[in-house]
């Protein structure tokens, strides 16, 4: 608003309306010049790739020979004949349905613990945050060691107690939960976001609740959780998108094994594109992923009216 006023002011200062018009054109040019790096990037790294990928999805393309148009064959094959696609999709959904809520609940509870007045609170916060700044490859190596059946950290502790080793990553039944544990461990940024939300909860609400005789669990259930639903919603949406695209951890820790139990969508897509060089097939996979992600995001958005509470409304 203030600019509008000042433009009016400078316009009046310099007299004619013509100069105002010229000024407007000049601003238009200035604005567009400033955003020109984005425009170039948008055309080269977004519009073009999207169009190309859409086209490749309808072709057979092995990079060496030019793409050959095959219509809907890729999509038909993926949806009807590809056994691994079905495994991969259900594995990925497993992580979305079980892993994501587990991670969010863990992060939320930890954030609540860190929000209490304990001594050395900032030290605890640092400790919980560090896992999420450690590069994924390094933490993958560390987890390989922790989970190692013969010499790993957990195994040697178990053997101290005379218990047998647990085949964390090599058993098809345990590999997925093992990866989920790692995911719960690296929730530092979610914790920070929850902490910020917790600090915004008005003290008066708790005070009023105490006067009304609400117990601690009741206050948690009826004040803390509803007041934090906007950030829970945010973490759910970003986590959803992230989970569908997770690559590094499963790729490094299990390589998709044992017996495809942890082969995830992004890993399978990578293999098709860059190991088997089926670029057309992989492009079709990418579009199906996009549709699945959009579908789940819309469901989450739709449902948010029911459970997300905005103090402003």
């Amino acid at each position: 608003m203030s600019t509008a006023r000042s433009i009016h002011f400078t316009g009046a200062l310099f007299g004619s309306r013509g100069s105002v018009r010229r000024r407007e054109i000049k601003r238009q040019i200035t604005g567009i010049t400033f955003i020109s790096p984005w425009i170039v990037g948008f055309v080269c790294f977004t519009i073009y790739p999207i169009a190309a990928s859409l086209y490749y999805g309808f072709t057979r393309y092995d990079v060496v020979r030019p793409p050959r148009f095959i219509g809907l064959d890729n999509y038909q094959k993926i949806l009807l004949d590809d056994r691994i696609f079905r495994i991969v999709l259900s594995n990925t959904l497993y992580f979305v349905v079980f892993g994501l809520p587990a991670a969010i609940v863990t992060a939320f509870l930890v954030a609540n613990l860190l929000n209490t007045d304990v001594r050395g609170r900032s030290l605890y916060r640092t400790i919980f945050f560090i896992p999420s700044i450690v590069p994924a490859v390094s933490s993958a190596m560390v987890w390989l060691f922790i989970y190692n059946t013969e010499y790993g950290l957990i195994s040697s502790m178990l053997s101290l107690m005379g218990l047998p080793a647990i085949p964390w990553l090599s058993s098809a039944a345990l590999a997925k939960p093992s990866l989920i544990i790692i995911q719960c461990w690296a929730q530092g940024s979610a914790i920070v976001i929850f902490l910020a939300a917790l600090q915004d909860v008005p003290r008066e609400l708790y005070e009023a609740a105490v006067i009304d005789g609400a117990s601690t669990p009741q206050r948690f259930r009826h004040i803390t959780i509803p007041m934090c639903t906007p950030s829970i919603f945010f973490i759910t949406i970003t986590g959803l998108i992230g989970t569908f695209q997770s690559f590094t951890m499963p790729y490094l820790l299990t390589g998709g094994g044992p017996n495809n139990a942890t082969e995830l969508y992004a890993v399978y897509l990578y293999r098709n594109a860059f190991q088997y060089f089926k670029m057309g097939y992989a492009s079709a996979l990418a579009w199906i992923l996009f549709i699945v992600v959009v579908f789940f995001s819309i469901i989450t958005f739709r449902s948010s009216n029911r459970w997300v509470y905005y103090a402003g409304k």
Binding site: T30, I32, Y270
Partner: protein, 252 residues
């Protein structure tokens, strides 16, 4: 991890494993660095992270300025388009970009990883724009009346005030570059070019499998070396960092 990195091989396999290795075997570090050319990987990563950070901060600052401090027709609609690009999964763009980069001969170099960063990603633009909007417009107007050009206003008025937000963008970019595994995996084939992320994985897998189990102390030493600069960076920038996450979180 650090404990294991200082153990001798037999110590790793002794059960219960001692917590504090005695004597500490610092040679593991030297060995880890020499089995694969780790020093080279380290330099590669630093060079790559610095260039990407320069590109990102430079371009997203300019673009965010154009989206927030200059009034022009259609600005908000274009900005919405910019935000919408965040919805498209990386996998959709990955394949055509790989094909283009391989056709123009950029594969097996850092160009495909660095050059796109000079063209402003939506996420960083969003974060900076959000911050630029909080700076009073009167300051720019005053400078304009004094005859300052937009670039001068950006350099003299906006940037000095927006340093914290720019630091957040820079930090996230450095971390992202340090952590990037998929990008280098796709584009780099020559081992000399590897960043540490790929180097670490190489250290794990290049040794013959029967020897693999003997690698733990070295592997942990290499992991420690990889993590160390990031931990150091985090300790010096902790506040900026945590602020950055809560800003992006709440505003997102």
């Amino acid at each position: 991890m650090v404990s294991t990195s200082l153990k001798t091989d037999p110590q790793v396999y002794r059960i219960p494993s001692p917590w504090i290795p005695n004597p500490a075997r610092w040679r593991n570090y030297i060995e880890a660095m020499t089995i694969v050319p780790f020093g080279k990987f380290f330099l590669n990563t630093i060079k790559y992270a610095i260039l990407v950070t320069i590109g990102t901060v430079l371009s997203s600052t300019l673009v965010a300025y154009g989206f927030s401090r200059v009034q022009w027709k259609g600005r908000d609609a274009v900005f919405f388009l910019c935000l919408a690009t965040m919805m498209i999964p990386g996998q959709v763009r990955m394949i055509p970009l790989y094909i283009v980069f391989s056709k123009i001969g950029w594969v097996n170099s850092y160009k495909p990883l660095i050059i796109p960063s000079f063209f402003a990603a939506a996420y960083d633009v969003f974060l900076l724009r959000q911050f630029f909007l909080t700076i009073p417009l009167e300051l720019s107007d005053a400078a304009r009346i004094d005859g300052a050009s937009e670039l001068t206003i950006l350099g003299r008025v906006v940037i000095p005030l927006a340093k914290p937000a720019m630091a957040v963008v820079a930090l996230f970019t450095i971390m992202g570059a340090w952590d990037n595994y998929l990008g280098p995996l796709i584009y780099l084939t020559d081992r000399e070019q590897y960043p540490i992320a790929l180097g670490l994985q190489m250290l794990r897998t290049t040794t013959p499998s029967f020897y693999m189990e003997l690698q733990w102390p070295r592997l942990m030493a290499a992991s420690a070396v990889t993590i160390f600069p990031i931990i150091l960076l985090y300790f010096f920038t902790q506040r900026t960092f945590v602020e950055g996450i809560s800003i992006t979180g709440i505003k997102g």
